[in-house]
């Protein structure tokens, strides 16, 4: 088959909602789009461990400490599943990590904001994981099999994360004045960065069209963002916190909450490396990787020695 026919067949399968598997023919652009997106997603998971890891040592009860640890551990797992999904496309994890460490690869801008109080653990679970779930659920049905399967697992595990965060905020909001203030302050700081997690508005999203066309993406950035606002507002009311958007109001005719203008200049700056924590996050990732090099080498060397010994003893026998 020539390339035109192959492309045609490929699009036919996409339209029929069939999964594309790693060994199937796929357009180079589809492969590259997937590698970029899955890698970004994986990087976001492992960089995303860091802001919350700040509070493992300081969690205010042992129950909270265990839940937080388990949650961050899940994020490591999610990163792992996603790197493996990317590897089925013929790029190895080390290459992807090199791109993260060199600053070439992107990850979700949200993780470049600092965690300043315990309430941030609540706000991250509620808002950041809430936004992430909305982004991720449709990916369970995306056109690329390994990505979709990884996301099924991720979404299943993710289900306790948001509840964990919401419970933290609920406890604070039912607590002392100081605790309530702490909760409100965290919501103030995390609300807009969470809104930005859905990416640029539809008219400015450069990758969206192709991803929608090839079934990688099922809903547009703005659709998902709207869903997030609609779902979060009543949850904020239960907590008794205010979402920091003076333009937020219910629109009877559409049945949606209308929200104010997002600061895209801030968004673009954080993406480009100017967020409050871009440098420290990458530094920590790089250090972990570099300091781990001798450990990984030791295990490889030991495995090689053992394999050699095994094959020698087999020959003797």
């Amino acid at each position: 088959m020539n390339i035109v026919d192959l492309e045609h067949e490929f699009m036919k399968r996409i339209k029929a909602d069939q999964k594309i598997e790693p060994k199937d023919w796929m357009p180079e652009k589809y492969r590259q789009t997937l590698i970029r997106q899955i890698a970004q997603h994986a990087h976001s998971e492992i960089v995303g461990m860091l802001p919350e890891a700040n509070y493992i040592s300081r969690a205010p009860t042992l129950r909270r400490k265990a839940a937080l640890l388990a949650k961050i551990q899940d994020e490591a797992g999610h990163g792992l599943y996603l790197y493996c999904a990317a590897e089925t496309l013929g790029v190895d994890r080390d290459t992807l990590l090199d791109e993260l460490h060199s600053g070439k690869a992107k990850y979700s801008s949200i993780f470049n904001y600092p965690t300043l109080t315990w309430a941030d653990m609540g706000a991250i679970g509620w808002l950041v994981d809430g936004a992430a779930i909305l982004n991720q659920v449709p990916l369970c049905k995306c056109s690329f099999g390994p990505y979709a399967r990884a996301m099924v697992r991720v979404c299943k595990e993710e289900s306790f994360h948001q509840r964990q965060g919401y419970e933290i905020l609920l406890t604070l909001c039912n607590g002392s004045e100081e605790q309530k203030k702490m909760a409100q302050d965290a919501v103030n700081r995390w609300w807009w960065p969470s809104m930005m997690m859905f990416g640029p508005s539809d008219e400015n999203s450069k990758h969206s069209a192709y991803s929608m066309e090839t079934g990688i993406k099922k809903f547009s950035n703005d659709e998902l963002r709207q869903r997030f606002v609609d779902q979060t507002k009543p949850q904020a009311d239960i907590l008794g916190v205010t979402l920091p958007d003076k333009d937020l109001k219910f629109d009877e005719s559409s049945g949606h909450w209308k929200y104010g203008e997002i600061d895209w200049e801030e968004f673009n700056n954080v993406i480009q490396g100017n967020g409050p924590c871009n440098k420290i996050r990458l530094k920590h990732r790089r250090e972990a990787w570099e300091k781990g090099a001798w450990v990984r080498d030791a295990a490889s060397a030991y495995a090689a020695k053992k394999a050699l010994k095994n094959s020698e003893s087999k020959q003797v026998a």
Binding site: I46, M49, L50, A53, I56, S57, R58, A59, P60, T61, L62, R63, R64, K65, A66, L69, A70, I72, Q73, A76, G77, G79, L80, Y83, W118, I168, T171, L172, N174, G175, S176, E178, Q179, H284, E287, A288, W289, K291, G292, A293, W294, V295, R296, D297, A298, A299, A301, Y302, K305
Partner: protein, 258 residues
């Protein structure tokens, strides 16, 4: 139960339980520091599993301590509102993570101890301790397998890893003597058949550590002088910093729910 225990005996029992709880907590706290910074994702996840096991053990022990203490305190009272001199964990466990070699050496020494100690605890006359030990022994068996394998991998891996892990086991050796000392509160509990008599476990511990070191091509440290005091609340300088972190929120805003 046979009558009421004397006050001193109750105190001894509480102290013994707190010693066990503090061990699990402080090591769990140290391992938690690795989360997000491990040498490879798979090991980051593995180490967090061990941290979670330890924090789980600590919670069981603190809950039992609260029951024994009988002053209506919660499990969190003991980790969050005691001072440096009241913690009874081994000095070894508060030593910093440093690198993978130190972390695994610390883990291996302690796991080897825990394995023989919890095995003994299964014979305790105290049902609650037996119940916690029978859960803990399963976790510890896995921890010991894990840390032993890493000691072997590093010992018999590259020249660099061999040197690093040899240094780590040498440096941490002086903190292992404490495992086998008997405090006042322990001897009373040993007499009653409640606590494990750890002084009798040294040979077993030495043998199992020796076997792994042998396989790892490591030399067994020979130091005869051991640091002491952790079990009685005299710690290294590290503990204060650990508690500063651990207790910061509860101490800044005490008396609240979190």
């Amino acid at each position: 139960m046979v009558g009421r225990m004397s006050t001193s005996s109750e105190n001894s029992k509480l102290n013994y339980i707190l010693h066990l709880a503090d061990n699990s907590l402080i090591l769990g706290q140290r391992l938690g520091e690795w989360c997000g910074h491990g040498p490879v994702l798979e090991q980051d996840i593995a180490l967090t599993n061990i941290a979670l096991d330890l924090i789980g053990q600590a919670r069981y022990f603190y809950q039992y301590a609260a029951l024994t203490d009988n002053r209506g305190k919660s499990e969190d009272h003991y980790p969050y509102f005691r001072g440096e001199r009241e913690f009874k964990n081994f000095l070894l466990l508060e030593q910093p993570n440093m690198d993978w070699a130190y972390t695994m050496a610390r883990q291996f020494y302690y796991d080897s101890y825990c394995f023989v100690m919890y095995t003994e605890m299964l014979k305790s006359k105290d049902e609650q301790l037996v119940s916690i030990a029978s859960k803990a022994i399963k976790e510890v068996s896995y921890h010991l397998k894990y840390s032993s394998e890493w000691v072997i991998r590093m010992g018999d891996g590259t020249e660099e890893s061999h040197e690093k892990v040899q240094n780590a086991v040498n440096d941490l050796w002086e903190y292992c003597g404490e495992f086998f000392e008997t405090t006042q509160y322990e001897s009373e509990m040993i007499e009653q058949g409640i606590a494990v008599d750890a002084s009798k476990l040294k040979e077993k511990w030495l043998r199992s550590v020796g076997e792994i070191f042998n396989e790892a091509t490591l030399i067994m440290p020979e130091g005869k002088w051991f640091q002491t005091g952790g079990k009685e609340g005299v710690h290294t300088e590290n503990l204060g910093y650990i508690l500063t972190d651990l207790q910061y929120i509860q101490k800044t805003m005490p008396g609240l729910s979190w």
